[in-house]
């Protein structure tokens, strides 16, 4: 993992500004996917509505930038906090829901956010809001600067998520997912942990949304008003691997890079996305991270033949 992080930090020295910008987008999706994974993969509450939190984060920083002149860093935190608060409230409203009912409820939430963005004048609908030039403490940021900002934010959030899921809080999340009954009789307060998971998950996705707003420097209901974002995040989690941070990294990259390389053939990108999704579900139901993990172990096993018990930490 450390090697991966180092690679990210030296990469801009070798690539063009344009690819830096594409990778920045990938980081943003990875953060959002990790947010969704905490709720869906680790806590077992399927959400098809995190595009709503993404939008809340983006509009928070956009509006604060426009009206208060607030810069990127406070905007990032404000976006996370606002999304977290809304996530907390939605978590309470949907507390008794699970499974398909929760999925439909969250989908409704995303649609409602879209409809609010379209109709309330402060959000300026399809006209959209332009953000001030990206800067921190007066220092202006270009593509590469934003690359570092997003990369560092992502690394911090991955480390945070990693520490969260390995802690007793993370254990409580997975306990809620695996058996509510057993969790309760171990003294785990279902309401508390479900709401906590909702809040943290929404906050992470909200931060991703704030970064997205700074990346495009512009927000409008065109981007944030439809359900594709929510669906993309869920696809990232399922394709990458549920309850796996490495999976969210792979999945986030999958949903950003595939349409990009096929951007001239948008319909073809759709078809390919659908086909890959179905193939993954049919042949690697635990996701790409699991598939690559097994492949890696197999190759490693061939190289170090005779040496048994090869462990692999790719999933962690």
């Amino acid at each position: 993992m450390a090697g991966f992080f180092c690679l990210l930090l030296v990469l801009p020295l070798f690539i063009q500004g344009f690819y830096a910008s594409l990778l920045t987008m990938t980081f943003i999706y990875i953060i959002a996917a990790i947010g969704v994974n905490i709720l869906t993969g680790f806590t077992g509450l399927v959400t098809v509505g995190h595009g709503g939190f993404f939008a809340i984060g983006a509009y928070t920083t956009a509006l604060m930038g426009k009206y208060l002149g607030v810069s990127m860093l406070p905007g990032l935190f404000a976006g996370g906090i606002t999304a977290g608060v809304v996530g907390f409230l939605l978590g309470i409203i949907f507390l008794r829901l699970s499974g398909a009912f929760l999925a439909i409820g969250t989908l409704g939430f995303a649609f409602a956010i879209g409809s609010i963005l379209n109709n309330w004048s402060i959000f300026e609908g399809r006209e959209g809001i332009s953000l001030p030039h990206n800067s921190i403490a007066g220092l202006k940021f270009g593509d590469v600067g934003l690359y570092y900002f997003c990369a560092i934010t992502m690394i911090f959030l991955i480390l945070f998520a990693n520490s969260l899921i390995k802690s007793s809080v993370g254990r409580a999340f997975t306990a809620v997912r695996d058996s509510e009954r057993a969790a309760e009789s171990s003294g785990i307060n279902l309401r508390f942990y479900k709401t906590l998971s909702f809040t943290i998950s929404a906050a992470l996705t909200g931060m991703a949304g704030a970064l997205f707003a700074h990346h495009t420097n512009y927000v409008s209901s065109e981007t944030f008003g439809d359900s594709w974002l929510s669906v993309d995040f869920l696809v990232a989690v399922v394709v990458g691997g549920q309850a796996s941070l490495a999976g969210s990294i792979l999945g986030g990259a999958f949903v950003v890079l595939l349409p990009y390389y096929l951007s001239e053939y948008r319909d073809f990108a759709f078809i390919l996305k659908g086909v890959v999704l179905i193939l993954v579900l049919l042949f690697a139901p635990a996701g790409l991270s699991d598939l690559l993990g097994r492949l890696y172990r197999k190759i490693l096993g061939k190289i170090v033949r005779g040496q048994s018990d090869v462990s692999c930490n790719l999933r962690d």
Binding site: F111, S227, D267, G274, I278, L281
Partner: protein, 289 residues
């Protein structure tokens, strides 16, 4: 004025009901929340355009051809994708239908383009007077057709062997299997019925919302509201829910402004789910050990 809005609400609601009932049927027999249900209708609308305008088939012939092609599509989805993962958890089933959704969206966009196409008005929109109320002929016909399909389904479930077998699977798959009901075949049949309903929804909605790959996206959401109203289980519940959302959004659209139509759908989802997690007409959930 109010009565008129009520009538047009019922007319739209009965079209949503076609989607909602299909969602419930497929969910309760296969645990699948079918995201591609709307796209079955969308493909149906495009097919109808092809049969009607390109191949110049007669109205009835184009209609039957569309019906058959959508049913074939739904059955293919079941046979090629859903059957292979039928024992997986519901999220896998759900995402698989999402994959189908992507593919159908992509294929239709590829073949027919992303532009919105108009659909010929088969029924005249000239208002007819019923009991002093002016409503368009199309509305009346939509209500009649949807009602007719409802009656057909009722008779199907009550009197035909296939319908009774479908209900038996809903109640208890294992018991149905022991009774010698061919479960796999009945599941395929369920998808076929889903396709049948989708074809009607597509053809009846097409003149109203026009034809494009994304035409059914918001209708699908309203279908979900209706389905959730019946706890994703009860067909009468889904029908009542769909009518209610049709009425609610027409009245809200009339008094608050058209842009609030979608918001109403969400408000209804939240209210229903927050207060009655298993739907208003779904069974009461009981905690069991």
């Amino acid at each position: 004025m109010f009565a008129q809005q009520l009538m047009s609400g019922i007319a739209t609601g009965s079209l949503y009901a076609l989607t909602a009932v299909a969602i419930v049927l497929i969910f309760r027999n296969t645990r699948t929340i079918n995201l591609a249900q709307g796209d079955f209708s969308m493909v149906g609308a495009f097919m109808a355009l092809v049969f009607f305008q390109v191949l110049h088939l007669s109205l009835i012939l184009a209609f039957v051809a569309t019906l058959i092609s959508v049913i074939v599509l739904a059955v293919l989805v079941e046979l090629l994708v859903m059957r292979k993962i039928r024992n997986a958890d519901w999220l896998t089933l759900f995402t698989a239908t999402l994959g189908v959704y992507y593919i159908l969206h992509g294929v239709s966009g590829w073949i027919w383009g992303r532009d919105t196409k108009s659909f010929p008005n088969i029924f005249s929109v000239t208002p007819v007077s019923i009991g002093g109320m002016l409503i368009s002929e199309a509305h009346v016909i939509n209500i009649l057709i949807a009602g007719g399909i409802g009656l057909l389904l009722f008779l199907f479930f009550k009197y035909t062997r296939a319908g009774i077998a479908m209900r038996a699977i809903t109640d208890d798959v294992e018991a149905a299997q022991l009774m010698g009901i061919p479960v796999k075949f009945v599941v395929t049949l369920t998808w076929a019925v889903g396709g049948f309903l989708a074809a009607f929804a597509g053809m009846l909605l097409a003149p109203i919302i026009y034809v494009s790959p994304g035409m059914m996206d918001t209708v699908l959401i309203k279908g979900y509201v209706g389905a959730v109203f019946g706890g994703l289980y009860s067909i009468p519940g889904a029908i009542v829910g769909s009518l209610m959302i049709g009425i609610a959004e027409n009245i809200a659209g009339g008094y608050l402004g058209a842009q609030y139509k979608v918001t109403i759908a969400f408000v209804m989802i939240v209210l229903i789910l927050a207060f009655r997690p298993r739907g208003l007409m779904g069974g009461q959930a009981r905690r069991e050990v």
